[in-house]
């Protein structure tokens, strides 16, 4: 039986590329349209960083390939292009491995491509919904309603059951 959760997989935490020397900010994708930020599920944050790092690597290598192809015809071009293609393939395989690892947990990382580069990654998580709330957590909300009870329907001496909430400001007219 596999009882691990996404954050408990045996894979080491992905390094944040933003901390690495030579980081190119324009090649680092967004996560759901914004820079990565802490969420309700810290384990998911690690998954986000793993995918962002993987797509950053793809972007870097794709940019390198384009630079090589700009030098077509130069001495050693074919070898350089081959090396760049192999580098991209390796980065894509790394991304594929991540996808496979997290698929059973309901995690989808869908790239939004622009000019061949992954600019944004749209994440879906098994544990939380789009609002970042745990899927099985009950939604609790409260509302204050005030309304006038007609004089003829008022009953004196009737109190609401249980203690009033500490922050309640409503006076029950029936309890007057």
């Amino acid at each position: 039986m596999n009882s691990m959760t996404p954050g408990e997989t045996s894979t080491p935490k992905a390094a944040d590329p933003r901390q690495l020397p030579g980081f190119v900010a324009s090649l680092f994708p967004l996560a759901n349209g914004a820079p990565p930020s802490p969420s309700a599920d810290l384990r998911n944050d690690e998954v986000v960083m793993a995918f962002l790092a993987a797509y950053y690597e793809i972007n870097v290598r794709w940019t390198a390939l384009r630079a090589v192809r700009g030098r077509e015809g130069e001495l050693g071009f074919l070898q350089e292009e081959r090396a760049a293609l192999q580098a991209i393939e390796a980065a894509l395989r790394q991304r594929d491995e991540l996808e496979d690892r997290y698929a059973p947990y309901g995690i989808i990382a869908e790239p939004v491509m622009e000019d061949g580069l992954a600019r944004d990654i749209q994440f879906t998580f098994g544990s939380v919904n789009v609002a970042g709330r745990f899927r099985a957590e009950p939604v609790v909300s409260s509302a204050t309603l005030s309304f006038q009870i007609p004089e003829k329907d008022r009953r004196s001496g009737v109190k609401p059951p249980g203690p009033l909430p500490a922050n309640a400001v409503t006076i029950f007219p029936c309890a007057d």
Binding site: M1, A103, P104, Y105, G106, G126, S127, A136
Partner: protein
């Protein structure tokens, strides 16, 4: 005449089964009941001829919350889901309703039937297509097959079958390449219309499986709609499978589903704080991220089941012109998508290119007026 309000707020697949019970109640007891429903899916009841607007506050109107406790005895008794609500109604109303058709009861208006398919509206051409569901809800992740396997099936039929990917927004539906992507874009009514025009459905055990059977076929088409279900060992086939479907299951082949479905909920815990993450609900035999029963089902097996329908003449294949017409609408066909394509597809494309180069070379080498080397379609 008894007046009943029947209610159920479960998932859409359950509601499809309730439509069958309402139909069968009326067919078995004609003129004896007026029925109305309260459900989570009003769109599935549109145009339903068995419904009458009833007010629950009126005297004499009975309300029944419909259930299917029969499921708890389904391992031992050879019954289908279609018997589930019927048996409950029989108990509640002291009746002897029997199934009168082996399908749910979904209705389209005349206007809906005459309108072009949503795909024809999108593309401006009436192309045959299959619906594909490559995921599902988060409550029963054990029903999921790996998205690369779904992709392999799509890839196998590249150029011959057009797949339209559907799935409710917010659920788990990983994107597939080379399909028309309608994930998160369809209402239940859209699904009714899409299913009506679909020549086939490929899915796990899900709402769409029930819809494949319940939605009528267009007039002039074959009586049943092809459907291939990747089922594994969670559900007993006799409870879920429809006669005209290809239900790919492993019940009887594994200790964990030896005599029927295991009815477990999840492959691994997903951390959503649901009790279904508990060990008693988890798959006991996970292989490479899939329940063994699903891992045992290969894309080739699923392809073979679709090809049964092809061999039997139930399917129309696309021609080259139709496939090309669908290109602008297929996912992963835009140049900017290419680097993100999964490895399987990249390899497939490389193979296609190599094939084209080979054919072009060999045809140039052996020029002949009436002879030409053509690729052999698998």
């Amino acid at each position: 005449m008894r007046r009943l309000i029947l209610s159920n707020y479960q998932a859409p697949g359950d509601i499809v089964m309730l439509t069958a019970a309402v139909r069968d109640l009326h067919r078995c007891y004609p003129g004896q009941f007026l029925t109305d429903v309260r459900s989570s899916c009003p769109e599935l009841w549109e145009n339903n001829p068995w419904l009458t607007l009833l007010d629950p506050s009126e005297p004499g109107v009975e309300s029944i919350h419909c259930k299917y406790p029969l499921i708890h005895r389904s391992q031992r008794s050879g019954v289908h889901f279609i018997h589930g609500f019927i048996e409950h109604l029989n108990e509640q109303l002291c009746l002897r309703i029997r199934p009168t058709a082996f399908q749910g009861d979904i209705h389209l208006s005349d206007a809906e039937q005459k309108a072009p398919s949503p795909i024809a509206k999108l593309m401006g051409a009436n192309l045959p297509y299959w619906l594909i569901v490559a995921g599902g809800k988060f409550d029963f992740t054990i029903k999921w097959w790996n998205f690369r396997r779904w992709q392999s099936v799509v890839d196998h039929f590249r150029g011959r079958l057009l797949f339209v990917q559907v799935g409710k927004g917010g659920d788990y539906h990983p994107p597939l390449q080379n399909v028309i992507d309608l994930r998160g874009q369809t209402s239940l009514r859209d699904v009714v219309k899409l299913t009506y025009h679909a020549q086939g459905v490929l899915c796990p055990v899900t709402f769409h499986m029930h819809m494949a059977a319940a939605v009528p076929c267009p007039s002039g088409a074959a009586g049943s709609r092809p459907c291939v279900v990747v089922a594994g060992g969670r559900e007993s086939p006799h409870w879920e499978a429809y006669p005209a479907h290809q239900f790919v299951h492993t019940v009887g082949a594994l200790p964990c589903c030896e005599n029927g479905g295991c009815w477990r909920a999840r492959t691994v815990p997903i951390g959503d704080r649901d009790s279904k993450d508990g060990p008693e609900h988890l798959c006991v035999d996970v292989v490479r991220g899939l329940p063994r029963c699903m891992e045992m089902i290969s894309p080739e097996q699923v392809v073979a089941r679709i090809e049964y329908y092809l061999a039997g003449g139930k399917l129309a294949l696309l021609n080259q012109e139709q496939w090309t017409a669908a290109s602008p609408f297929r996912s992963g066909c835009q140049p900017e998508d290419r680097m993100a394509a999964p490895a399987s597809r990249r390899r497939n494309e490389a193979g296609v290119r190599a094939e084209q180069i080979f054919l072009s070379a060999i045809n140039q080498q052996k020029p002949s007026k009436n002879r030409k080397v053509l690729p052999c379609l698998r």
